[in-house]
Amino acid sequence: MSSDRSLVQIAFYAALIAALGLVPKIELGLAGGIPITAQSLGVMLAGMMLGPVRGGLAVALLLFLVALGLPFLAGGRGGIGMFYGPTAGYLAGYFVGAIVVGAIMQAMRNVNVVVAACVAGVVGGIVVVHALGVPVLAYKAGLTLEKAVMVGSLPFIPGDLIKVVLAAIVVRTVARGLPSAIATRS
């Protein structure tokens, strides 16, 4: 694995996370037509495909670009303001989450890829992201922790679970079609 390839992969997954936040919302028939943004799906994919180091760096690079003022967060948001808003904790959660997702994928490299992706996605992509996002939301919005969970966590759990499944489907497809692209397995 040359360092050029790693650099391009990191940049590419950062771009993928941004692009998934900008594509039109995907409406899911099976979830009663709830529109979901795919941004956190990209975060999970970065960890699942690239592993903890490069996956984490991809998210860090994306957040750096957001801080530089590029509109790369879901819905075209961006700017340093994002790190002072109520959702700043979720951004930190994306970074740590991608690392945890990658670490779990690597630890479960001999387990069925769909199972490994689901476990990694739930722990890293949901639990870690919310664990960092909710306390910051509570602090920034002057809410109690329970209220912050009600507002900033519970409504998003169903959508997040769907995203974990989608990420697992994508990883499985890639594992079949382009196995070399999954660094956590080779």
Binding site: S3, R5, A15, L16, A18, I26, L68, G69, L143, V174
Partner: protein, 206 residues
């Protein structure tokens, strides 16, 4: 891609990027103990005044918070529900003020100037053999990749629409990822063929 930056030569554009970043950071810490209604309102008025000092164009940039408004509304409603309207107003005012103030930097500072300002933060990465030059290259690559990826997704969507009459589906995600991963390999090869991320000058690590 369109960045938030607004071209111009105002007083705020002339300040150094580092000074603006330090000011933001210090202010964000200083306001923590002042949790009253009038202070929060004053803070917001001050920040809106900053935008106003850039002229009409600047005031238009206040629209950047629009995507956050529903979130603010929910936060406010939860406070109302809890029976503390004043705390709700304070929370929303402070959030608006800090987000707008931070965005003010994005609006009045060129991206390259911001990158130069934070470059020292990347120096410790040298220990791991990552030169600041690689960071710049990565930033440029992302900015170039995002529109390409959006175009790839749009073409997949078109093909899907032609076959199913529906505009968008989760089924597009896997082919999208495959397309994109193949593209990464081509770009990596092209980069190596041209001497790698660090170029031909100096020692070649790749």
């Amino acid at each position: 891609m369109i960045s938030l930056y607004m071209a111009g030569g105002s007083w705020a554009h002339k300040l150094s990027a580092r000074a603006k970043l330090v000011f933001l950071f210090v202010l964000s810490l200083l306001i923590i103990p002042f949790n009253t209604l009038w202070f929060s309102a004053l803070l917001l008025v001050f920040v809106v005044g900053l935008y106003g000092s850039l002229g009409k164009q600047g005031l238009e940039k206040l629209k950047a918070v629009r995507p956050l408004l529903w979130m603010m509304a929910i936060i406010f409603l939860v406070h109302v529900f809890l029976g503390d309207i004043e705390q709700g107003i304070i929370a929303v005012l402070r959030l608006l003020a800090m987000v707008l103030l931070a965005n003010f930097i994005s609006i009045t500072t060129r991206m390259e100037a911001l990158m130069d300002a934070v470059e020292p933060l990347f120096r410790p990465l040298r220990v791991f053999g990552i030169s600041p030059r690689r960071v710049s290259l990565a930033v440029a690559l992302v900015i170039r990749f995002v529109p390409i990826l959006l175009a790839v997704y749009a073409s997949l969507q078109e093909a899907y629409k032609a076959r199913t009459a529906r505009a968008n589906s989760w089924r597009l995600l896997a082919p999208f990822a495959l397309h994109a991963i193949k593209m990464t390999d081509h770009v990596a090869e092209a980069l190596t063929a041209r001497g790698g991320a660090d170029g031909f000058s100096g020692e070649n690590k790749s």
